[in-house]
Symmetry: C3
Subunit: 527 residues, 3 copies
């Protein structure tokens, strides 16, 4: 009620806020009903598969409403060797975890300079070095090609040479990725992925559809910049009670790339190309799908000499280019989009006979502040216990990368809404505030958890810094109807253990450890 005297003060706050910054990590608006998750959820497997020329996408549907309640959509993408995931963007941000393989990701941040460039006017030593490196690589390419097809190559080579003497190519930074990397892709930013490794590249990808960056409805929409006709993958809708079945039926509709939606003449004139080329861009007759095979000769692009550049190098290079360029702001353009969470030495939490957890939040990868998501990577030894806890300010979509665990998720009514195995390749949502606990299976358990806040926090029930330890023993004694001594046992039973608890008989478990299990070479220490 009325307190107008205070208004000046309030306005002052408002102003200070307005001036420096503003609001974040909480995203309002997750308004889909979470009614069903109060009953029962289950371990999700991908239920729909979209095949392409050089790979496939598997979509995690939701029959029990857990993904819509968390406001996320999930997919597993497999890109075959030498495959290219065609460029697209989405109305919501996404994080992807590389489950297997290696590749190159190009995320185009609109408005940022093309910092990888070759101009014929430049003649510095660096330029010459670049030139030399590129020639070396081209030599390799030509050797490879010579075993494939000569005629076509000849023609292309000619045109390429003439280009190189005039404009040459330029593009935005590219990022190499490998198993254990997390890649952040902001809403509205187009990206492409190329598998330049020797085995399939597999990534699990989670969209935060309820993210405040999305001003459209709760539908995950994919806007493809290239490629031909596709099925329903272009849109995944979360309606009120709308089951995925009905969606699949509707998914029979055809979807095309966005260029195909424009009048060919208009597109051609926009690009100053012939209508024939414009028609090719529209790709209405393209049958390769969303992941295509790169043509003979491989994917040529500008990239630093070393396969895995240090971040410092990348920053320096881009920095110089940006500074010399159009005066664009460097900070967003230079934001790191990738971080590895598999290195055991970088674990944030380690329990000797239990396992480890690596957290990736906006403190470590600042772009997550923009994306408002974070990731945990966990590895547990055989029979280790995932301590009972709840997520304070985020939902978690947990994907099992190897092994298995028996997990239990408990609702506000004390109902066990999930009680089962989460096996490699499955996913389950642990909703905000819901309690979860579990035990790793005989092969251990490794997972990656995608969280809908860039500073996701957990509250452990027991162990170090836990809820129960924060209360006086007498409160517990009276609350639980146990003796004071028993209350103290409950409080201090786990000593200094945190998040992952060692199994009952640590020594015994160590002896029985199955030497066959490996995850990133960490789970199984040399026997």
């Amino acid at each position: 009620m009325a307190a107008s005297l205070l208004i000046p003060l309030c306005l002052c706050i408002l102003l200070l806020r307005g001036a420096s910054a503003v609001s974040d990590q909480q995203e309002a608006g997750r308004r889909d009903s979470c009614d069903r998750i109060d009953r029962r959820i289950r371990a999700l497997e991908p239920t729909r598969r979209v095949d392409s020329e050089a790979g496939h996408t598997e979509l995690y549907d939701d029959r029990d409403g857990q993904l819509p309640c968390a406001g996320v959509a999930a997919a597993r993408i497999t890109i075959q060797r030498n495959g290219l995931l065609l460029p697209s963007y989405s109305n919501s941000p996404r994080l992807a975890y590389i489950v297997h393989g290696r590749g190159i990701v190009g995320v185009v941040i609109p408005g940022c300079p093309e910092t990888y460039q070759e101009t014929s006017s430049s003649s510095s030593q660096e330029q010459e070095d670049d030139e030399r490196r590129r020639r070396g690589r081209r030599g390799d390419e030509e050797r490879r090609r010579s075993s494939e097809g000569e005629e076509e190559e000849e023609e292309e080579e000619t045109s390429r040479r003439s280009f190189e003497q005039s404009i040459r190519d330029e593009h935005q930074r590219i990022t190499t990725v490998r198993q254990g990397d997390v890649v952040a892709i902001p809403a509205g930013a187009p990206f492409w992925v190329h598998n330049d490794g020797d085995s399939p590249l597999v990534a699990i990808s989670v969209h935060d559809v309820s993210n405040s960056a999305n001003q459209l409805d709760q539908t995950s929409r994919r806007f493809r910049l290239a490629g031909g006709q596709a099925r329903s993958e272009g849109r995944q809708r979360y309606g009120e009670g709308e089951s995925s079945e009905s969606e699949t039926e509707r998914g029979g509709e055809e979807s095309y790339n966005i260029l195909s939606g424009f009048d060919t003449e208009l597109l051609a004139e926009s690009m100053r190309v012939s209508p024939d080329i414009a028609r090719k861009l529209q790709g209405r007759s393209d049958k390769r799908g969303n992941i295509v095979r790169v043509r003979r000769g491989g994917l040529r692009m500008l990239r630093p000499a070393t396969e895995r550049v240090t971040d410092e190098e990348m920053m320096r290079g881009a920095n110089a280019a940006a500074a010399a360029g159009n005066g664009i702001d460097e900070a967003v353009c230079l934001m790191k989009l990738r971080e590895n969470v598999a290195d055991p030495m970088k674990a944030d939490l380690y329990t000797p006979n239990g396992g480890r957890i690596t957290v990736l939040n906006s403190q470590k990868l600042p772009v997550l502040k923009l994306i408002k998501m974070s990731v945990n990577r966990g590895v547990m030894r055989r029979n280790a216990i995932l301590a009972p806890h709840w997520n304070i300010n985020a939902h978690a979509a947990v994907y099992a990368t190897s092994g298995s665990a028996r997990l239990q998720v408990v609702s506000s009514e004390g109902r066990r809404v999930f009680d089962g195995e989460l096996r490699r390749g499955q996913m389950v949502v642990v909703p905000q505030s819901f309690a979860v606990a579990g035990r790793a299976g005989d092969e251990g358990f490794a997972w990656v958890s995608f969280q809908t806040s860039d500073g996701a926090m957990n509250a452990p029930v027991v162990g170090k810094s836990s809820a129960l330890r924060g209360m006086p023993a007498d409160v517990l004694a009276n609350a639980f109807g146990v003796s004071r001594e028993e209350a103290r046992m409950v409080k201090f039973g786990r000593g200094q253990e945190l998040a992952i608890f060692s199994p009952k008989s640590g020594a015994a478990a160590r002896r029985r450890r199955s030497p066959g299990h490996r995850d990133d070479g960490v789970l199984a220490a040399p026997a």
Copy 2:
């Protein structure tokens, strides 16, 4: 619409925010279904007109769901010469663009001091200057009046004199506006508008109903502080699938000003006025509507001598008053609420034979950070091309102020959801992430675009700093199935052009330019 040159600036803001805090400009909570816009949208015309004594309001209804999807409501307001739009406030912020005419806007920021004041105790030189100026103006007024009615005037003049010798008036800052100005009105702040010009004042106004400042539901509510009975304009609701027809039916209900809702006795005592006056304030018998004719004598108010004060002057004056006043925070109270976007010299982006775009975001007008909206003003020459692009983090409600354009809007499924002319006076929504492109008609095209973010960003598909230019040519070649040389043509065809592309034959177009078309005197250079 497109303004990619500004993207660096926008990104810069983004970064600054990202660094310290974050997110704002994304507003969660646009939860109305956008289902229908995935099918088809159309150019909107105002469908309902509310007539008043001295003007009328035209409301843009939504039959196809595009306005609710974008979470906005739009109206065109026409105030006749000497008309006064009665004070009201809303549960959501709004931006208005002055399409035609000039006037005075008073936005009352609750809690801010009345910085325009005359107190009889003051006797400084400034005060005397004011006095002299006012006398001069009054002389004018009296000359005008003398041709109208003498008796009534006599009485009023007497009472006015007695007032001037005792309390005198005081009020908050007022703002003069003219064609090409954008005015920002925060949620909950009452405002009034007076047309003191010689021709009708026409404004197009867009409410951001989904704005986080609105904690009520998705209904745009107008709370009138004065005036009599009105029809449904007081509330515009976006229900689930609720068509505007049903709204109109329900709109048969009467709406009154908020003072009329209080008990007359309570109101009278609150204000220490007689019940008779209180009854007048409640206006139940007032039939003039929402825009009234100012009585003979004109609208007298305190204002600086020059018609168009410089911002510096205004700041200085208000500053001094605030400092001398009740110690209120100055920053919000002094925030500029108006900015002109029509001056061609202030354009942020200019393509010689194409046109220009002026961006107004929170970098230029800080109050937009509070309001979380921004505006683009664009002017295109005959046949110029609006480059294909998408809005990264906002919806855009595009209003055509003159000329016409053929626009195409494309959904995530590659479906052309809009393909038609947007003519003067029409509006269309370009939803976030949807692709848009177009071509100006024979008379050119001028528009103003209201965006639901204070740092709205565009991503051009082609041209400078575009999505396709950010990718390696080989990625495009493989994605589109074209040769490397063709990929380079696609990438570099438009050279350094950005957002607005010159038409096919620039020289020819220049010669054929229709000399009759004018928009702010800019589109048509002297032939």
Copy 3:
């Protein structure tokens, strides 16, 4: 999933944000239909009562939709002498106002150190002082107990002594509360309350379910960490048009504490306790309800000697402990969660014959920036007038703590949606933007208002710094159709009065003042 070690870091981010910026006070996402409040609302009484062993909870249901529209849930909790409200947490933040009595609140901020601790290794002077103090208190306890039961006591005393010689207890900071205090409880943070006073402890508590901290749906969920079977209180859902009746029916379902949802074996191993103890924690056979009676001997806990420690002391102590501890971020862990709003000397606004208002926002209590709520406490003399005003950026849930007032709430259509008495114990919502005014009854009126923004702002219609005073007199004259002199009377009638206006005849009212009425000893000055 679990990574509590990181919590300190996360909290740190959270804090830094809170400190520099944030944004808050706008919370998007209040998407429940507010349709019904445009028709009529009424004064709410608690409609459902849940009885427990040592107290009861009364829930304010919503039959007219006002609470769901405001996105809040309200309850009144009564804890009998020596009762303990069992620990629980919620998916949304809450503010509670202590209407009567005194007690101890323990809010556990996950990840924060247990700053109240006794370790047998410590031997400082402070430690000895503590020891002495505790012995003194124990002496008191024993004297009290001697009148109750001897045998059981003997045994407990023994076990306690042995404990004291070995581990001793430790827990997080506890907070004493008394009538007039506001306590802030963040989302996800477990808390418990103990009544250690001589009379019932009564608190009115408001959850902000629409708060951006809640990523679940609009259901207020309570997650209990202890206690047995309960009825529907664990979940209060706001569905579309779902009436509270249907909820009550569904509420027949049983609800248990979250530990009961885990497998007993898993729980036991997690805590390293026997399955028997684990079963007790699960409390399936516990019939005491949610508020239990503390067993003979009282609730022993560590606390500073003086009953009401100064904030400085508390900070110093906690600070030292934190610094010596695990390097956790201190700022969040040390945030003050309680503030008194009853002290008349701390009033922010005072009208001599009218009353006073005390505002508690994030400027005064920084944790409110996290919680995005604020509180006003108001006290009005007999017949004083609550000035007409509206809430700019928040809803207000107004609870009458004593006396009564006739209030009128007016919608955008000028409809009086509420017109009635608000009596002690009743609650009414004043929605954002809706106008409200009123008059205190014969016994005066005291209230506490919970607002859904941490920087809630009001706009008065008349009086100092009001909407009408901010407009030129001539605008009002023309808008209302009154003379200029009348417009000036409207503008200046209330002089410098603000928010609370003195009644018609101040002197008369003073004489007639009923000496019998008291509220916090302030309303009635010594007659």
